[in-house]
Symmetry: C2
Subunit: 332 residues, 2 copies
């Protein structure tokens, strides 16, 4: 380590303690955070670990890495209908970390704490034996008994998806293969939109209240629409029927599709959408749509559920697509 | 990856789901754990990240690595007076992981879940871009308002330490330099005792009730007695006076000290003791000692606190030791 860099305690005091705005974090000066309970609420806990060059590029802006690590957890909370409260941060720094990088990383967290109304509760900072690692445990709350599972979907429910599908996975491909932009005839603005969707998830925290109020089941799309809808169907023991033509697609993805229709399968099997897929009883559907509209979250009905053996089926022009060869995004 | 090894979901189902014995974990089939709140209690949250060849040796038995990762967190909870309830596991597996290793790792967690009455709530399994990484977030509870901080110590408090000090750090040295055993004239049984104390912390979970009932302040020894007592003194704004001669020392450490008195400074500055250092009001001291005796936890009075500027002082035969050159164990 360069001699001028701070040690662990100084690093925590300088960059992380300012993020510990909840009194329960004890300003990161103790062994643990101590939080009062939230009477009338259940706790929702989730943990995602991100590794450089597995889940993000090591050279990504530090603020974006920080934001992504926090946001993928907030997306899990939102899909359960939970409101975020705080998080613990495990940070494994590579040997060549710099103070400038650490400062940007902390600023990325600070901005997101304001956007998503949560605070740093505690954590641990270590030297990584390899590349950068970020492990976040996020804590949210939901009114007692109101957490939404994957397993509650019922035959007859309608399937709704927030936002658009496939942007992030196409953005990742464009980043891995820059020549693809020209092949697909994409304008710079499209490329930049798609790559940003990969770099920075936009967790649907504002959708949480509508999800817990109206949905029978929900899941956030991290492994891809095909894989995550399959998870929901398996857990609920219902079949899903999705019309490909009704899927919400961004203008950028649409421009790519026009040039190369095969892009579509990557969009529904690729990961990192971080949109919320929800099964909503038909009679609640208008209320769900209205609540999301009020929250400023775009939502599209993409299909429906029926009795079955837990399979997700995708139809295009009335024909069922064979996606048996397509897996989810392998985060592992 | 070898083709015959299971993917992420199969790995979770086979090795980790059996550990998820609390219904709130939803059998690890959902995005998050959902736990009922504990009325009348505060939540205590702690997170420690361990990396291969930083915090343990990559070739250590998998069950011991699992146990250590969990136990260092349970030690933090115990020092706050909290009772463990569950944990989230972040596991970054190296490219060459095997099913046999994973099975042993899970068995290590299972045994500790029984010993310490806690359960796996959730987590994340990823491919590490380097060596093995284990990041655990542990959750405990304490009766409302009763969590013990580092910062509550008062002048006049007596200082108590559970167990013995210095075993683990001497055990680590013996492992790094096997020739040292002969130099110190240590018998095999001593070497094995010391190395085991490094390999497997014994968190003082049974001391938690006495700590929260009687202590004004407490901290677990992870960075070493000198560093951690300094943390407590700084946080509380009191000075500590410790008589070196009263420190609880194991027979194995004593045997080494007789041969080489300089071993002592390593014992009080070395880390990984995972004993509880507590500041107890003088009038509560007999009750604290009696409660720990009843819980089967050995404890020794090692000094007292006085008004001061937050410094830890160590006396030997009436002379103050100069430990200014000695730091804590650098986990970072």
């Amino acid at each position: 380590m360069a001699a001028e860099r701070p040690g662990e305690f100084e690093l925590i005091a300088r960059y992380l303690a300012p993020l510990a705005t909840d009194p329960g974090s004890l300003a990161l000066t103790d062994d643990a955070a101590v939080l009062p309970s939230w009477p009338g609420h259940d706790l929702v806990l989730t943990k995602d670990m991100l590794a450089a060059d597995v889940h993000f590029f090591a050279e990504d802006p530090a603020a974006a890495i920080a934001a992504k690590a926090l946001r993928v957890n907030l997306s899990d909370l939102a899909a359960k209908g939970a409101t975020p409260k705080g998080y613990l941060l495990g940070l494994g720094l590579p040997a060549d970390w710099t103070e400038g990088w650490m400062n940007e990383f902390a600023l990325g967290l600070k901005a997101d704490q304001e956007t998503y109304a949560c605070a740093l509760y505690g954590g641990d900072t270590i030297r990584s034996p390899g590349k950068l690692l970020v492990s976040i445990t996020a804590i949210g709350i939901v009114p007692e008994g109101r957490a939404v599972r994957r397993s509650g979907a019922m035959p007859g429910d309608q399937l709704f998806l927030t936002g658009t599908v496939g942007d992030a996975s196409l953005g990742l491909k464009l980043r891995q293969n820059p020549a693809m932009a020209a092949e697909l005839g994409l304008a710079d603005a499209d490329v930049s939109h798609l790559q940003n969707r990969y770099l920075l998830p936009r967790p649907r925290v504002k959708a949480a209240e509508a999800v817990r109020t109206y949905a029978n089941a929900a899941i956030d799309l991290s492994d891809g629409l095909v894989a995550d809808l399959s998870h929901l169907c398996e857990a609920s023991g219902v079949d899903a029927m999705v019309n490909i033509e009704t899927l919400p697609i961004s203008k950028a993805v649409w421009n790519a599709l026009v040039k190369d229709p095969s892009v579509l399968s990557g969009c529904i099997t690729g990961g990192d959408d971080y949109e919320i897929l929800a099964a909503v009883p038909a009679e609640q559907a208008p209320s769900y749509q209205a609540a999301l509209k009020k929250a400023g979250v775009p939502v599209t009905r993409i299909g429906a559920l029926a009795e079955g053996e837990g399979k997700a089926r995708f139809l295009s022009k009335g024909e069922e697509l064979d996606l048996s060869a397509a897996g989810g995004f392998a985060h592992f």
